[in-house]
Symmetry: C2
Subunit: 287 residues, 2 copies
């Protein structure tokens, strides 16, 4: 059966309900489109685990802090559909903003603590928008499993916490970050980098690796562990403007001063007017 594309909530519900009747496990891959190899991996993993794979393509206005970022967000529906078809999606749900928000949206889902650190400090309301729209998509698709990339580590942690706290009947499946050959994490925003910025961008992942090396070498004080990476980034041209480089608790995402356990090293930088994020999980070698 060839891939279907629907834009209404009743239509996607009907298709999912039909698939469920045949006993299929329902897999959901929520995206904002502008699909790249990272998304493709999400769909492939879902395809391998589920009988029926739904990909949603919806650029959610409530999670953007600036109208300009929302407007500039790349929209490439034709190419996206090709990626989804190749990766084996059964149906694409690509609703309009009006379909998702037909009237005033009074209800919000908020995950405290986890949403306050890292990107949350710089993007007020962003994760409330994310948690709310993901709740809606999970409820619409009635998914058994939903797939999220580890590149958006804070988003993943927040969604996992939300699902646990609200007893949602879905399993969240994390999928490892897909990178370019030079280490740059795949992102829909990468296409907005100039040639020079693109050439410099792998420094973002290198910085994370340098912090991990310091930690592994026993430099467990966070400020000390960050120094070499920050010095490296300061020497890169065009220079990435570091928004944060933090080492945080895996569960609460609160910054650590001293790394004595598994932790997440996370970074956000601006390259010109493009914001890039990346992260690396660090497993402490010694207690």
């Amino acid at each position: 059966m060839s891939m279907r594309v629907v834009d209404s909530i009743p239509a996607i519900r009907a298709l999912v309900s039909e698939a469920r009747k045949t006993g299929s496990t329902i897999g959901l891959v929520p995206t904002m489109g502008a699909l790249h190899a990272g998304h493709r991996r999400l769909v492939e993993v879902a395809r391998g685990e589920c009988g029926f794979v739904v990909v949603t393509i919806f650029v959610n206005p409530t999670q953007f802090n600036q109208a300009s970022d929302f407007e500039k967000y790349p929209r490439t529906l034709e190419a996206d559909l090709a990626v989804c078809a190749e990766a084996g999606a059964d149906v694409i749900f690509a609703p309009s903003a009006h379909e998702m928000y037909p009237g005033p949206q009074y209800t919000t889902v908020e995950v405290s603590t986890l949403g306050e650190h890292l990107c949350g400090k710089f993007r007020p309301g962003h994760f409330r928008g994310v948690a709310t729209v993901v709740s809606k998509l999970l409820n619409i698709a009635q998914a058994d499993r939903a797939y999220f990339g580890e590149k958006d580590a804070q988003q993943l942690a927040i969604i996992q916490r939300m699902v646990a706290d609200l007893d949602m009947a879905v399993r969240i499946v994390p999928v490892p970050t897909v990178r370019e050959a030079d280490g740059l994490a795949m992102s829909s925003r990468n296409v907005r980098l100039s040639a020079e910025e693109r050439a410099a961008a792998p420094a973002v992942y290198r910085a994370l690796q340098m912090v991990a090396v310091e930690l592994t070498a026993g430099r467990t004080n966070v400020e000390e562990a960050k120094q070499a990476a920050l010095a490296m980034l300061a020497a890169v041209r065009p220079q990435p403007k570091v928004e944060y480089l933090d080492i945080v608790d895996m569960v609460t995402l609160a910054p650590l001063a001293h790394v004595d356990r598994e932790a997440l090293i996370a970074i956000a930088v601006w390259m010109g007017d493009v914001r890039l994020i990346d992260n690396l999980r660090y497993a402490a070698a010694r207690a």
Copy 2:
């Protein structure tokens, strides 16, 4: 099959899943126990519409503003089970607080605007607690229909809005308020009234009826429409302390100054240390 009583989330999920496999519609009646004829009606209506009826009994700590009100809330499990069995429930889910909140609950569901008026003004955080726990219960029971009494009109409006805004796959069924012969709305808190307070309590409903009479007579200015009812309440002994007597929009629950459409007349009073609420829907005779 006789009624089952379970206290764990996996146990209730297994029973619901089994019932669903036989094609049964799942009905949920969320309660805090201390069941009276109003709850019994909820269960009976659910029984008439659903193949499998789940009643939850859980005194939710996060929706109480005062520890004393939480502690004083009547707990009558044995009698509750008898009511449920007679009314035809299939299973009772009566979890502990630890089962529902095993760790810190970081996630909350909030319905803005609707939660800010009426009781929301006097019970900060109450409806956030209600919306969050009802989300959890709906997700745990995977209900097709859930039954709520019109007596808690603001709670009902908030839950209906939450379900619509979050695209939850459940239908909320409102059930009319059940009253004592003298008009007092059934409430678990009524048993805490002294004999004198109980004798005076029907004045609460009478006040609502008096407002409706004034509105019907064409006195559409809210302050004027309330005057006779407030004067009547002021003369009652022991005297009910009026927390609010408002006439509000059916959808947003925002107070109206002039009643030119369908509206909700709602009241909260204190009789001693017992808080009573009630409401009456008013359908404007003329546009």
